[in-house]
Amino acid sequence: MLDDISTAGDRGSLLTRAGKPGPAMLIVATVIGLALWWTVYSWLIPFSEAVTSLFPVERHSHTGEAIAFFFYDVPKVLMLLTLIVFAMGVIRSWFSPEKTRALLAGKREGVGNVLSACLGILTPFCSCSAVPLFIGFVSAGVPLGVTFSFLIAAPMVNEVALILLVGLVGWNVALTYLFFGLGVAIVAGWVIGKLKLEGWLQDWVRDIHSGANAPADFSGETLTMSDRYKLGYEAVREILSKVWVWIILGIGLGALIHGYVPENLMVDIMGADAWWSVPVAVVMGVPLYTNAAGVIPIVEALLGKGAALGTVLAFMMSVIALSMPEMLILRQVLTLRLIAVFIAVVSCGILAVGFLFNAIF
């Protein structure tokens, strides 16, 4: 006990004396961190087998399979998330909303929509900032449709959704989601731009848009490499503290379903032959509001039990991209008419993805 206190004290003074870690120290820490991560990751299968053997069940029974699946998948997904969220947190520190805005300002529609949707993945975004971000973009001369591409892509295509898809469903589905999520954001934003709906903004936003009333200018802070690492660490802490419950619940549910629910349960309701299942999935997704971590275990379960890929992708996109809380936030800057157009255009895009996939695969 006494030892503990004295080492903790030493560590504290070391840190203050050293100040901020230099680049060499950061590189060493990165290499050691990655090596540790890889070592732990490669021991996950033996770990899950060892834990499973502690339970008084037959290893190859349904229950045994379910337990092994749970104790392999939970740490695997948590470790993947930690690594990728950290890396994205660091990478994102180069793509501040201020820089993204500068890149997008005055871009033509088309190219602008593509760039905007891609930057939507890389720029740190939380839906509570949707209004100031919208105003900031529009006032700096980012076209309305290009701004929408960003606002659709940013919540829908994010690294948490993609990692969970890779970990729980498979990388091919994750890539499909990435490309078609971006596609929906690009096309929906482009269509909204073509409709020339600037007049349907709320009055005070229109004033800003016309340049009559410009917000203050702020170009962001300068960051050192250790600041960026700190941002990565904060992203990990924030996201993991939010999603770990969902991951355990979701994988637990997945484990149960793997073992106990009949394989073809979903074929009739959500299979490719049931054409109406795509619109139903989209409509069901709007009132349901959860983050990617909450929806992906459901996606996994549905796919595993015979639901068609297009239907499930449509459901997932609808849950994440069209949510009531986000609409309420956007209501502060958009008129109801414009929100209705937004929902209609994005829904059409999602429907198209759903039908396309069910037809091809």
Binding site: V131, I208, N213, F218
Partner: protein, 78 residues
């Protein structure tokens, strides 16, 4: 007397930021008036693109995420 404004619609991070500002001011023995701004229009007009944002005596010093403690003290002292 420093006039500090913390911009944010009221999410947890914004609360934390406001508390960090108060703590830093208390630590430095500074007299600071910390005001929370939750009106989206006002947040936007201050030039904040991502919340929480901090302005000190009318000048925006930070936007997006929790501020760094050392930097926060630096801004308050300046």
């Amino acid at each position: 007397m420093k006039q500090v404004k913390v911009y944010g619609p009221g999410c947890k991070r914004c609360e934390t930021t406001a508390q960090m500002v108060r703590d830093a001011a208390a630590k430095l023995g500074l007299d600071a008036d910390v005001e929370k701004v939750t009106d989206p229009k006002e947040i936007a007009m201050a030039g904040v693109l991502s919340t929480p944002g901090i302005s000190i005596d009318g000048k925006l010093v930070h936007a997006g995420g929790l501020p760094d403690e050392a930097k926060l003290e630096g801004w308050l002292k300046a």
